[in-house]
């Protein structure tokens, strides 16, 4: 593959590291902190070298004090700095929910708009193997439920760089959710700094017959489903929402008005979740134009089991999307016996 400037290919993880490096070089008020951000592993490599390059006050590992560290970020953000607080599992962020929801999300409103809170909270999510029920959640619906918090879920290396830069420059608290399987995906990423605006979704794949609205890793699964169904001339349009809050409703509505069918493939539980929100919104905005009710796909309504045998049942994937599409369009089941799907054992290989 060509490594020319226009088509340089790097991984999602390298794109995050590049965004952090560029923003920290551009703006000395930006700093990175959290559990083990300055250790030899560097949060899947995304923070490696930052402490050496920018010094120990710009990138430092903290005590295991998630609640205090969130409040620390609020104090720093309201006194001229731009903190980036990193959590290697979103599950650990639950320890900081009091600060996040009672303090961070409300501070600007309580000041009657006077005090901005430019705080980024990076949190890794993921899947298999054997991560179990305390290393496997996503929680974007909980964050997005709270006024005052922005929630970002990037999928491609290009988007993760531009969205992270936009998040760092944003004057609001932003929860930035990164799927671990995406870290190793490759894609074309410009070397120069750029922003992907928060609140803008995109058409990840154009299609005509049915809309699949997807978050994070589910975009990868949706592309796999699209590839398989295209053999039968079924044309799926994939909407990558990119930010859950604020949500780009227009890109979803426009697509559903075109196709008349909507599947929401969310990387989270369904009940009271983001998929429910999209389903309600699509029903409100596209009611008379829908050819079928909105279908939701998400985690099984259980805690995530540890054993691989059940874990595969817990997580939704391309096959669930394929079967949902067939049902909506009244098609027979596609023969997928010869197809490979993404799994831990397949080294998470994806299309980017």
């Amino acid at each position: 593959m060509s490594e020319s400037k226009e088509s340089r290919t790097i991984t999602f993880q390298e794109a995050i590291a590049e965004a952090l490096n560029q923003e920290m070089a551009r703006d000395e008020s930006v700093f990175v902190y959290g559990l083990d951000v300055a250790d030899h592993k560097g949060i899947y490599g995304t923070t490696l070298g930052l402490a050496k390059k920018f010094g120990g006050t710009r990138c430092f590992s903290t005590p295991l004090s998630e609640e205090a560290m969130m409040g620390f970020g609020l104090g720093a953000a309201t006194n001229g700095l731009r903190p980036i607080n990193v959590h290697i599992r979103v599950d650990f962020l639950l320890l900081a929910m009091n600060q996040l929801i009672n303090m961070v999300a409300t501070h600007r409103y309580g000041s009657n708009g006077k005090t901005a809170v430019p705080l980024v909270i990076r949190a890794a999510i993921g899947r298999g193997w054997g991560q179990g029920y305390q290393h496997s959640k996503t929680l974007q619906s909980i964050f997005a439920h709270i006024p005052g918090l922005k929630v970002v879920m990037p999928t491609t290396p290009y988007d993760v760089k531009g969205l992270l830069i936009a998040s760092i420059r944003d004057n609001n608290p932003v929860i930035f959710i990164e799927h671990r399987w995406l870290y190793f995906q490759k894609g074309i990423v410009p070397e120069e700094s750029y922003e992907v605006p928060l609140g803008s979704g995109k058409i990840a794949k154009e299609g005509a017959d049915i809309t699949v609205v997807a978050t994070s890793w589910m975009n990868v699964e949706a592309l796999k489903a699209q590839e398989i169904l295209s053999r039968r001339n079924v044309s799926i349009e994939i909407v990558d929402v990119r930010t859950v809050a604020p949500l780009d409703k227009d890109v979803i509505i426009k697509s559903v008005l075109k196709t008349g069918h909507c599947v929401v493939a969310d990387y989270d539980w369904i009940n009271c979740g983001f998929s429910s929100e999209v389903a309600a919104m699509v029903s409100e905005e596209c009611f008379g134009r829908l050819k079928s009710p909105v279908t939701r796909i998400g985690f099984a309504p259980t805690p995530c089991p540890t054993t691989r045998a059940l874990e595969d049942e817990f997580y939704p994937g391309a096959v669930d999307i394929i079967r949902a599409v067939e049902k909506k369009l009244g098609l027979s089941a596609t023969d997928i016996s010869g197809d490979d799907f993404y799994s831990y054992e397949n080294k998470f290989r994806g299309p980017f």
């Binding site: 005590p63 205090a68 409040g71």
Partner: protein, 316 residues
């Protein structure tokens, strides 16, 4: 104005504003839970006067003393309590979340302990940006029961952040005695094992607290360490609201009588009278009363926020 009189002016402002709220509250126009400062005044006034304009202050829902001694203003204060557009936060904050960033009051909160880590983050920013501020955080003895206090205090000690932690100990949280909440004999004995400096004082004398705060500020700066001040007061009124509650059985009026003998306002007034400043005292008192009366009248007459204001201020 002498230091003694300046301190009295602030003490009297806090006391009189509180008495005015107690008088107004039954009219049900102040629709916000109030956690009043009666008995606590010397701590807020002594510390704020010592640290002054150079400080960034973080506090609790019992914040009226803090707000008034930092701003000396009552127009926006009362307007906020009355929920008016002219309030300090346009009515969105009410009594429990009063702030005045232009005067250094950066954060107060209704959830116990929550502004403590915020102050630690402010102290970190102060060091990084070399803004040369004094960072002060107030909290009650109830906050010592919260994990976030220990997380935050430890972090400040690890990072060796010069800042002042002030525990305003009234022995109750909200109605449960320390003996039923704390598995250790004395907090300063525990905290002196950390990389910090600790001081303990039971005085209600505003001048003594003022001196101690000056010393704490200097030591924090000189030694580049957190300083923990353990100060004490007696809460004259119920936890929240404008009434006494000695008839509720969890404490006795005798305790109050004992503390009232060293009431911070009376102590300072007596000192000034002994200095032959009776006229100055009375001038200050009249001024404060007029100021408070005027502010309450203005607050009552002010408009409520526009309905559209509901949506303003969520996002930058």
């Amino acid at each position: 104005m002498t230091l003694s009189l300046a301190l009295y002016q602030k003490l009297y402002l806090v006391r009189w504003a509180t008495e005015a709220i107690r008088k107004e509250y039954p009219n049900d126009q102040i629709k916000t839970p109030v956690h009043l400062s009666l008995g606590e005044e010397a701590i807020a006034v002594g510390v704020c006067h010592a640290i002054g304009k150079n400080g960034l202050f973080y506090g609790t829902y019992r914040n009226h003393g803090l707000y008034l001694s930092l701003t000396l203003e009552t127009d926006k204060f009362f307007a906020e309590l009355y929920g008016k557009r002219t309030g300090a936060s346009g009515g969105k904050a009410g009594s429990m979340h009063l702030t005045a960033p232009e005067s250094g009051l950066m954060g107060t909160s209704a959830v116990v302990g929550t502004t403590i880590p915020m102050a630690v983050g402010a102290a970190f920013a102060n060091r990084v940006r070399r803004t040369d501020k004094a960072i002060v955080v107030f909290f009650g003895d109830g906050a010592l029961d919260e994990g976030v206090f220990w997380e935050s205090f430890n972090t400040a000690c690890v990072l060796k952040l010069p800042m002042i932690f002030i525990c305003e100990d009234n022995g109750l949280a909200p109605h449960t005695l320390k003996v039923d909440r704390q598995g250790y004999p004395a907090i300063h004995k525990v905290l002196e094992r950390f990389n910090c400096l600790t001081f303990r004082n039971e005085t209600t004398d505003v001048e003594e607290i003022h001196s101690l705060a000056l010393k704490a500020g200097l030591l924090a700066r000189e030694q580049q360490l957190p300083v923990f001040l353990h100060l004490h007061y007696y809460r004259y009124l119920e936890h929240v609201g404008v009434n006494e509650d000695f008839d509720q059985g969890y404490r006795t009026r005798d305790e109050f009588e004992k503390w009232y003998k060293v009431d911070p306002i009376n102590l300072q007034r007596k000192r000034l009278v002994e200095m032959n400043l009776e006229k100055e005292v009375s001038d200050v008192e009249n001024q404060v009363r007029e100021q408070v009366d005027r502010s309450i009248a203005l607050a009552k007459a002010a408009p409520f926020p526009d309905k559209a204001d509901l949506f303003k201020g969520v996002w930058s």
